[in-house]
């Protein structure tokens, strides 16, 4: 794949985006979401340009995922967190909120803006809705693509998942830290939690803890369940005051409770944190495999693994993808 220098217009757009001017930035995100071949080449060129000019593109790019069932209050909590995190004007935050697409029409209603009441002139906060785009392959492919760009422009990227289905699993590959959000606990929810979704998160948030009693009960029940399933390492003694040490946060978005503490914790999260014996995440490889599988099934994956050596020689995602698809198409023709 060729690498072209950016033309004047694109360069200007990118510079403005680096200064967080919203219109050019939004256009660039659209380019990253775009499925045309032309866009693939442009993305490749842009990423190449950005990585060669690290002084212009200074985003810290820490990516945080929020997952959890609909009704847990993800949007409201994220809205409150953003208010708190942007107070000092020292953090640039992008929020990507994903809503489901209709199976029937392919269209989607993206309603997170209503809940967050987002639409401010503040440069340090950028909000974008995304449809889960079922039919286009790669449930969070648009999110992955947008994040590739946003990492270089923002310090913090907050991803709010749909709350149901496959992309609840994907989010862990994309983010440096994943929160599982839930409502104050009831008995049946404990059962649900044992079922596998508990393996995803790095931390837990129990939202809607409007009263302290609710927060205390929820903490003790959740902790007991985590202890039993041995899914995460519990650090603190079983005490409500130290819940954060167990990576458990008790919040109420409506009553503004627990927000400061959670915001403080989020500020401390590092990009590519490899402590706690976590495997380094190769998100590009994950999406390469995922996309190839969706497009060509096991046949595609087999060829991909045969071509591993050749792929290692390549650097960019677009380049690898183009190489892989060309190789696979060739083999299909040879069949």
């Amino acid at each position: 794949m060729q690498t072209n220098p950016l033309d004047e217009k694109r360069l200007q757009q990118l510079t403005q985006a680096a200064n967080l001017k919203k219109l050019p930035l939004a256009k660039l995100i659209s380019l990253f979401e775009n499925r045309s071949e032309k866009a693939t080449q442009e993305r490749h060129d842009i990423i190449h340009h950005i990585t060669n000019n690290p002084k212009t593109f200074t985003g810290k790019g820490v990516t945080i995922g929020f997952t959890g069932t609909p009704g847990a209050g993800k949007s409201s909590l994220i809205a409150e967190l953003c208010k708190t995190l942007t107070q000092n004007n020292d953090l640039r935050i992008a929020v990507l909120a994903i809503d489901p697409s209709s199976q029937k029409s392919g269209g989607a209603i993206l309603g997170d803006r209503t809940r967050m009441h987002s639409g401010s002139k503040n440069k340090n906060l950028f909000f974008r809705s995304q449809a889960s785009n079922l039919e286009l392959g790669g449930i969070t492919h648009n999110t992955f693509q947008a994040t590739r760009l946003l990492r270089y422009l923002f310090d913090l990227i907050i991803i709010e998942t749909v709350g149901i289905g496959q992309n609840e699993i994907d989010i862990q590959y994309m983010s440096d830290h994943t929160f599982l959000m839930m409502q104050p606990l009831a008995g049946d929810q404990i059962q649900f939690m044992k079922a596998g979704i508990m393996e995803i998160p790095d931390s837990f948030i129990v939202n809607k803890c409007d009263e302290e009693r609710l927060a205390r009960t929820s903490y003790h029940m959740l902790r007991a369940s985590l202890k039993q399933s041995k899914l995460i390492v519990l650090n603190a003694k079983d005490s409500f005051e130290n819940a954060a040490k167990d990576n458990i946060f008790l919040t109420s978005a409506t009553k503004h409770k627990g927000i400061q503490e959670l915001a403080g914790f989020i500020r401390s999260i590092q990009r590519n944190d490899q402590s706690k014996n976590k495997k380094p995440k190769d998100i590009e490889n994950f999406y390469l495999q995922k996309t190839i599988q969706e497009l060509y099934g096991k046949f595609g994956l087999d060829i991909l693994s045969q071509e591993q050596e050749a792929l290692k020689q390549l650097t960019g995602y677009e380049e690898k993808m183009t190489f892989a698809t060309t190789a696979i198409e060739q083999r299909i023709l040879e069949r």
Binding site: A26, I29, R35, I109, H117, G119
Partner: protein, 672 residues
């Protein structure tokens, strides 16, 4: 004395008599306090005994006239009220000890009642003489009307505060009025209308009971103060049965749930405004017949006859009604009540097996729905989880789909659409009511004058007490009355409480909804969507929102659902937005078109703001803007010159045709 016959009504001496007519009301208020005062005094001089006050949207949402969000709305749909000085002018030369004052006010009810009480105290009128109603039904605001201010729990708390205060201090005041009117406008079927409004009444009464501030006798009186505001549509037999079902269900709830012994306090007291939803923009003169038929539904049956009636105007789908339009509706009531023999008979339907069966069917279904909501945690919970709202959107979408398919016949709209043009709309003023823009300046300068002469230290002290009372959770009435007397403004009172209680945005009910439209137009639109995706590499994106304070969100909701059905990605942004909110969102989301919905009559001002904002972001002309709502023909050209790409009004009921036109606009736009 002759023996009375079965077809006669008798007085207490056994003589044949006839009923007194219901109260004729006109919902009124506009421009500013001086003009509205003139209007009220004229009406009272003509023998009207009650006032029904319409407030402008800023007052309803708790903003003062000098705030940016208020400016386009000053005096548009009602009178603006900022301070007690405004109230003094509004009621100038009106004896508030005598007059019955009904206020259509919700989110800021407590504030308006406090102003009224403060006015009485300053005039030396004993407050126990005050009589009237504050609408104060927040559940329907969350569901349909959109002028809520505080979150559901706090909203209910303020209502309970008012009941607690009024029962002993202002005993003739109805602190709240349960509204099913707006539910029907938002799409409720008769069963949903019955169920959701009764759930509302139960929610309020349960909250009062929980506070435990009344003894048994007081609580009975308190139940007796609950009144209803109902709607009536074109299926007038069913509507009449609905009213009979309402009366019976309420009696049963009062006996079973609240143990009310005195039948007087169990009576279902209700006022009516008949349906505007079914009124058409096409052949608008037909609406006069519709209004008459709807009126029959709530007057024919004596046992379920309304106590007060207000009628819409024939041309509501075209613009805000003028005085003549309102007079024409009033005449209908007078003719029905005085020229006919309607009021001479006992109930005409008692013993009818058809009516009884229909009533029982409605009651059974409504009871099942009520039980469902109570089992799931009650009214507040059903607001917060969006259940009731989504049910309304479902039935509205069904209704629209049926009109689109022709299954639901609307004369002049989807059948018999050709007709001779009505001479009524060819009037000299274009059939449109306009607010004089100069009058807004008068309101703002009166506010400035009050602010200049009031005691600022006193204001600060009163607001501090208000805040502390709110934090403690005590009854807010006395602190609010003190604020009123200190000339605190509507905006200041509300902002203080907003700060303590927080703001709330209820679920929109739109997500996950679908339409059942399958027709050729849909195929055409989807084909265009596909073409767009093939050439542009993404789905068409639209942001839909309502700028300004008008909360009637049906139109925006239906367009959102239709756009999704067509294959758009729809960024639904809801209500009460500033031009900045919408433009910033449109830019961040990189949409292909902006869809605006407006019904309050402030489209000219708001579209100016919107285009200024687009311009300042360098996006004017790049993103097409389409507008829907009640937009008078006379304004359409000017709006298009400003840059609006297309205007959709109620006659554009074919949702897929709307999407088709929007798709054409998007495809034609190739600015990058």
């Amino acid at each position: 004395m002759t023996e009375p016959q079965k077809h006669q009504i008798t007085d207490k001496d056994g003589n044949a008599t006839k009923d007194r007519p219901w109260i004729f009301r006109t919902y009124a208020g506009h421009t500013n306090v001086r003009k509205s005062n003139e209007l009220y005094r004229n009406n009272l001089a003509k023998g009207q005994t009650g006032l029904s006050i319409a407030f402008d949207l800023a007052t309803q949402c708790g903003y003062s006239s000098d705030e940016d969000i208020a400016k386009p709305e000053i005096g548009k749909v009602g009178v603006p009220i900022n301070t007690l000085d405004d109230f003094a002018i509004l009621f100038d030369n009106i004896d508030i000890a005598e007059v019955n004052t009904s206020m259509t006010i919700n989110g800021t009810s407590m504030w308006l009642l406090s102003l009224y009480v403060a006015l009485a105290e300053e005039r030396g009128v004993p407050i126990e003489k005050l009589q009237g109603t504050t609408q104060n039904d927040l559940i329907k605001e969350f569901l349909a009307r959109g002028t809520y201010v505080f979150p559901p729990e706090e909203s209910i708390k303020l209502i309970v505060d008012m009941y607690e205060f009024c029962l002993t201090n202002v005993p003739k005041w109805n602190p709240s009025n349960v509204c099913s009117y707006h539910l029907q406008e938002a799409g409720a079927t008769p069963v949903k209308e019955l169920a959701y409004s009764l759930v509302t009444a139960i929610t309020v009464l349960d909250a009062i009971k929980e506070r435990n501030c009344f003894d048994e006798e007081e609580f009975e009186r308190c139940v007796g103060r609950v009144s209803f505001f109902v709607n009536a549509g074109m299926r007038f037999i069913e509507e009449m049965c609905k009213m009979r079902a309402f009366t019976q269900l309420w009696d049963e709830i009062c006996i079973e749930r609240y143990k009310v012994k005195n039948p007087k306090f169990r009576r279902f007291r209700y006022g009516i405004q008949v349906n505007s939803l079914g009124l058409t923009e096409e052949q608008p003169e037909n609406n006069a017949w519709r209004i008459l038929i709807e009126t029959l539904g709530v007057t024919l049956s004596r046992d379920a006859r309304c106590r007060a009636l207000q009628l819409p105007a024939w041309n509501e789908a075209l613009s805000l009604p003028r005085p003549w339009d309102q007079q024409w509706s009033l005449r209908l009531q007078q003719i029905l009540a005085y020229e006919t023999d309607l009021l001479e008979y006992p109930d005409l339907f008692d013993g009818s097996p058809v009516i009884e069966s229909k009533v029982n069917d409605l009651k059974e279904q409504a009871n099942a729905e009520i039980q469902k909501i109570m089992d799931a945690g009650g009214g507040v919970e059903a607001i917060k989880n969006g259940y009731m709202k989504s049910q309304l959107v479902v039935s509205q979408a069904e209704r629209m789909s049926k009109i689109n398919s022709g299954e639901h016949i609307v004369v002049g709209k989807n059948r018999w659409t050709d007709g001779i043009e009505s001479p009524l709309v060819r009037d000299s003023d274009g059939g449109v009511f306009k607010v004089d823009p100069e009058s807004a300046a008068e309101t703002v300068s009166a506010l400035e004058a009050t602010k200049a002469k009031r005691d600022d230290a006193k204001v600060a002290e009163c607001l501090k007490t208000l805040r502390e009372t709110a934090i403690k959770g005590d009854n807010m009435m006395l602190a609010s009355i003190a604020c009123a007397k200190a000339r605190v403004t509507t905006g200041e009172w509300t902002a203080t409480l907003r700060d303590v209680y927080g703001e709330y945005r209820p679920p929109t009910g739109v997500e996950g909804q679908s339409l059942s439209i399958e027709n050729e137009t849909l195929d055409t639109v989807r084909e265009k969507v596909k073409t767009f995706m093939d050439t542009r590499g993404h789905r068409p994106r639209i942001v839909v929102g309502k700028p300004g304070l008008d909360g009637h969100s049906n139109g925006a909701e239906m367009i959102s659902v239709a756009a999704r059905h067509a294959g758009f990605d729809v960024i639904y942004f809801g209500i009460r937005l500033s031009a900045t909110d919408i433009v910033q969102s449109a830019i961040e989301e990189d949409v292909d078109v902006i869809g605006i919905s407006l019904l309050s009559g402030s489209h000219n001002e708001i579209m100016d703001q919107l285009f200024e904002e687009l311009d300042s972001e360098g996006a004017k002309g790049k993103i097409p803007v389409v507008l829907g709502g009640i937009i008078p023909q006379a304004d359409a050209e000017a709006l298009k010159e400003k840059g609006v790409s297309a205007i959709f009004t109620p006659k554009d009921y074919d949702l897929m045709e709307v999407m088709n036109r929007i798709m054409d606009i998007i495809l034609a736009n190739d600015s990058e």
